[in-house]
Symmetry: D2
Subunit: 433 residues, 4 copies
């Protein structure tokens, strides 16, 4: 066997062949939610086939939520394609309503939504601030888009401008990121579909039909008011019933603690089993600056996915460190910490008693108990006016924030933040509550 | 930190607590297909929580099918629960029709269907004959049931008798394994649901309502004839459109070849990266006898799952062996071998030319080309009378095979086997076709 | 041809045969929403087959709503069966939670919900106060139940007690009539299904699972709070988007005016074409007293349905009275009066100008214009605490009204009444607005 | 009150206003099956609003099928709109595949499918050969289109050419009427949806995606073979499970006999109650010639609908003629004749015995018993090659009939006609069977 180099040549050749093929026919993807999703643009098809995007097949959309909702096992890959599909429908609607959107702009906004989450690391939100603290997935998404822009000779310029809100038509950016964007529309419907929590379902088709543009801003035709209200209620419901389901909170905070413990051990110079890439990130503590200066780090990051994390955790079940081993085993066998939620913060005394109880029970040293005693809070805003408006467009051309519309006590109610405090602890200490 | 032993104690305590809790209320699982699935029996709840069963959360139902149908990413865990749900409905129907089924029998048949696939290894069928050749998943399922039977003091005796068809009421076994069993009913509907191939959907509710028992044999009320026909057509459609979709065939045979290559390299004493358990099975070549004699092997097997395989493959992308590396990279980045299907076998000359072309292109040694040139066939029988009958029960008490019923040309047609030959090869050699 | 009497004999014979048949097997009804609905109780099957109940096949559930939503063409028959199905599921759930419900009580509550709307006349709510002013459909439902009770020798005693809230277990009545009853659960889901307004859909299964009983009162398990919120939002949405859709308001008030005009003409002694029964009710002006004293009136009422009304209106298209003819033609050909809705009452001047304009345009006499100029208001309360509570049951046994629960700003908002004023007028006068 | 003439003027004015409105925005119809149906063409919107088309709101799609499937209560109006929607999707697909279809052709084919069933009389197929024997609904549809063409100054010329297969692009006609047309695609899906017989559901979206054109003929891309197979199986299933459900056969033949009896009585000069238009058609016996010569007859026909029939039958319950009264009462109260189906014809002796029994039981004269003793047969062809082909288009450009494709035993089976003989008789005579 001689030259691996030859293989590389082949794969470039392959790329050209694909582009040729595509020009004559569309590519179709089956989606259990929308039916057929058609991909007409060869560049978009190229991007979907790119290893960076294919990686999203191995990043779950909802982290460990499947421990509560076994069907919620879908991936970021599928969500990104779905959001792009909705974007295509939105473009269609807006053009029907007289908005001029060029085919370059269409391509740009489709690419921007397709890649909006490409910077997500394994287990998405759960591990975002643990593996590479201080580096957000949005910043990484942009960095990866720029990387791809180089590879495709500037074809993503417009997509990047739209993504970063540096393009004149603000509504294109708002379709990607606002209080009522294609991202939310797809994930609410998709997460509802796969989890089986049907109340969270959003009628994306109806909402899309109501979209409009006024003075380059995304607005909703006034008769869509009840659909928007329903969308916000669905969002709130999904938040508390799925995303912040108490068992999911417990599992994901345990996952964070496992990684924290592994990083701690790695920092102590203790050898850990597991995939090479994962071990690399456990030892390093990269900052954004590192990503900027050393392109190899992004490349490494782009080979990291859920499989690395789970594979590592599976190895750590047999680790000598009792804490790492016990937490790992609990995740693998779904033997989770117990959790309580309440409106008010938990009393200091409770946390002291619990900490003591855990140290006593397991023989942990001071401070180690916090791997098994998680006290924190979660917060949700179904409609956050501070982050942007959902504006209604009336027949007379007037626009106004949805919460000021007549009869919108409900929407006002949904604008208030809701907060919940929680405590996670080993089941055998629940007599201390 | 003192004794890991203490942790063990806790987890036993936990088990007892759960049993107590359960006696007072049911456990509910959300299913996107059936809605709510209620679990009333504490023993069944225990079994679902058992690490052996939780492992099925990490075994995909359809292997690499998600490379074609991105939604088809569901697990054996979910299928097993779903099939058990349908079994509960079947029991309900049969009791309504006057069949006496004791609560012990109900528990037995529910457990048997719940555990019928527990012996599946990673990537289910795809790797069944590669990782541990000669050991079927059915044999392993039985072995694991026996193991659990020991742990639960014989509570699974009846389940095992039903599973192995050693129980007087044959229809209970037939509900688990026959031409029209709860396994098929669930997987057809579930695979159709998640893949989005809606034509493959089966109206499980209607079929269940038509089930009946005559002389201890499972039969279908005669008016259910069109529903059975529709079930068989759906099965055939799913077979060719999903299970044996040409791209899926290519991907799964590539997966097999990756494992074969890894085993070959391991046998040469070449060190491979990857999870410890996987490496163990690559080096060993266990027979059924080994499983019988050494209980540790089963235990090891039960810690193996899809994550180990994918994690291994991800490491092998960087392996020095060009073959292993190239195939691994192709799977990870979805750059699959091209495939052609046809009714007749492919000509010998073609396979010779292809083999030569590959050796030439990559510089492979004689024989190595077969990792990238796969020539084989697939076969399907929508209704296989040789393996058992679907019998109709007429109002006058008469029963007869569905294919002998009037107007059943369609079913006769579905009884014929269908065969397809295929060839997989690198895309750049397609001029040789 | 001799004796019609003989035919009567036959039909009694028929009734007995049916009862015999039923004792050995269940009856199944296909429902597009719930799948199969099984009827096990022979008495209930008898009641469904009774001409009084079969009449509901000819009473639309949503009146003229199909002029806006063409799919919303379903009948009271289907709704009554659906609500009974949900009741069966509710009973099942409550028994699972330890509530003792005897088979007599089950039959009683099933019959009560089945017959709760049997007193509805043609076009349900729209004509309720026009055809027989001062006689409510609830009063008629009760009267018909009593009639059936005589026919079935007191078998409906318990059903009537539950229906009239004279039975000790108040929750049985509340399942039929309260802020969260089986009636609402079915009609919201059914009306949403048939109209295609999917946002109004209610997850009846999940809500049912959350039902419970505390101190003989119907309550909802506290974790069902978001489902109840979703239910109330759906109800509000259906109200404004379907039941009070502006075009539906216009059509139904026109229908009322047609009947008013026909009654006016009949009172003048002017002969009208149309079905005999309809003409009978146009001429008479029955009070509740008449129903009490003359059993023939109820019988006549029970032969009246949507077909009579539409058939009459079709005849009246050719009536000499211009008003009756024009309004009738507009309904038949869907050429409806234009309508405007607003929060505040319309100005007196507008109504004067409109009245004048209509008189002028059509040559109507003073007062006649009000058949074509409708000024009124509609009002909705998604959750009306004055009419009863939805109470949550907490794990500690405490119960409290849902609007006092934490985080229920939304529910408070939904408790406020919403009012809309409207004006309907001929399209050609809209310049007067 | 003076001039009805003025009202006429207004309604003309109205028509113009609508056209103006439409030019600036689309009209949307909610469909429970397809979601939103958008109507862009003002002429099509006009046609939908035309009284002739609005009449279809009062013609049920499935006649008396709702007596078996209570949900199957939808109208021809809804089906026509649905079929037009699918046509729009088909046009979209074919254009995507490179077919040039002008906007005139699009309008033509949309109008042709919209109006393809406009000639249906009350209860569609059931009464087609009873009310006006010898005049088919297709002939009437064409006549009505020609009428509308006059009214709209020749705007329907192309639609009529396509409808009558006199247009060069044969595939446009085939989309309206062939073995796989938009009519069938919509009605199978719609009837399945409303009846709840989900096995009959057809994935119209997938089938549409597979449509193509070769040499101006409609074909199906070869990879759509399983979808076509599924479509044919669904069609067969709907035929026997819904359209020819034995209870539906009994009800519809009874309906025919009621009308026959009423016509017989009318011919005897006996006065009957009921709507004027219905009585007109009972007395007359119009031929096609009459329709050609006297335009008033068509106009009268166009005011006839299901309401007239049911209203008449309701009146006839009280008719002195025992036969008419008994049959009418049976339909209204769903007390149907019993029916038996079998493969072979029924023996002559049985029919003699039954006839005698009925005469004996009811005191009927010789010949009269045939109103209550119906002996006939029904026949179905899921795929009828004699009436046209479903052709597959292979990648190499070759086309061939689907039944000659490899692996199509099933389709061959579906090409065979299936026949069933039946007998309907009063329940009390079933001991004679």
């Amino acid at each position: 066997m001689r030259t691996p180099a030859r293989l590389k040549t082949c794969s470039i050749f392959t790329k050209q062949v694909k582009l040729l093929t595509l020009s004559t026919k569309n590519k179709i993807i089956n989606d259990p939610i929308y039916g057929f999703i058609t991909i007409k643009d060869p560049l978009i098809y190229e991007l979907i086939n790119h290893p960076y995007f294919q990686r999203l097949r191995r990043i779950s959309q909802l982290g460990l939520t499947y421990l509560v909702y076994p069907g919620a096992y879908h991936t970021r890959f599928h969500h990104a394609i779905g959001a792009m599909h909705l974007m295509g429908r939105a473009i269609y609607t807006l053009r029907q309503k007289g908005q001029e959107i060029s085919s370059e702009e269409e391509r740009g906004v489709l690419i921007a939504i397709l890649l909006h989450d490409i910077g997500h690391g394994p287990f998405s939100h759960a591990l975002e601030h643990t593996l590479i603290p201080g580096v957000s997935h949005e910043a990484l998404s942009l960095k990866i888009m720029e990387e791809l822009n180089l590879e495709y000779n500037g074809s993503l310029d417009l997509a990047i401008d739209i993504f970063t809100n540096n393009y004149s038509k603000a509504y294109l950016h708002q379709l990607i990121s606002s209080q009522l964007d294609m991202d939310r529309l797809d994930y609410l419907r998709r997460d509802s579909f796969y989890s089986g929590v049907t109340e969270g379902s959003v009628n994306s088709e109806r909402l899309l039909t109501m979209l409009n543009v006024k003075d380059d801003q995304l607005v909703v035709d006034s008769k869509g008011i009840y659909s928007v209200e329903k969308f916000l209620v669905a969002r709130r419901l999904m938040y508390w019933q799925v995303y912040m389901h108490k068992t999911v909170i417990s599992a994901e905070f345990m996952l964070v603690n496992i990684l924290k413990r592994a990083k701690y051990l790695a920092a102590q110079g203790i050898a850990l089993d597991g995939p090479a890439t994962l071990k690399h990130f456990l030892k390093a503590d990269y900052t954004w600056n590192d990503f900027e200066e050393n392109p190899e780090i992004l490349k490494k990051f782009l080979s990291l996915d859920d499989f690395d994390i789970m594979s590592g955790i599976k190895e750590w079940v047999n680790n000598k460190d009792v804490l790492l081993s016990d937490l790992s085993s609990r995740i693998i066998n779904r033997d989770l910490l117990k959790i309580r939620l309440q409106e008010k913060p938990f009393a200091k005394e409770l946390s002291h008693k619990m900490a003591e109880g855990i140290r006593d029970q397991y023989g942990f040293k001071q401070g180690e108990e916090h791997y098994m005693l998680i006290i924190d809070k979660v917060k949700n805003h179904a409609y956050n006016k501070k982050k942007g408006h959902i504006n209604l467009l009336y027949k007379d051309g007037r626009i106004s924030d949805i919460s000021t519309a007549a009869d919108q006590m409900t929407i006002n109610a949904l604008s208030e933040p809701v907060e919940r405090h929680f405590i996670c602890f080993p089941r055998e200490l629940r007599h201390l509550l």
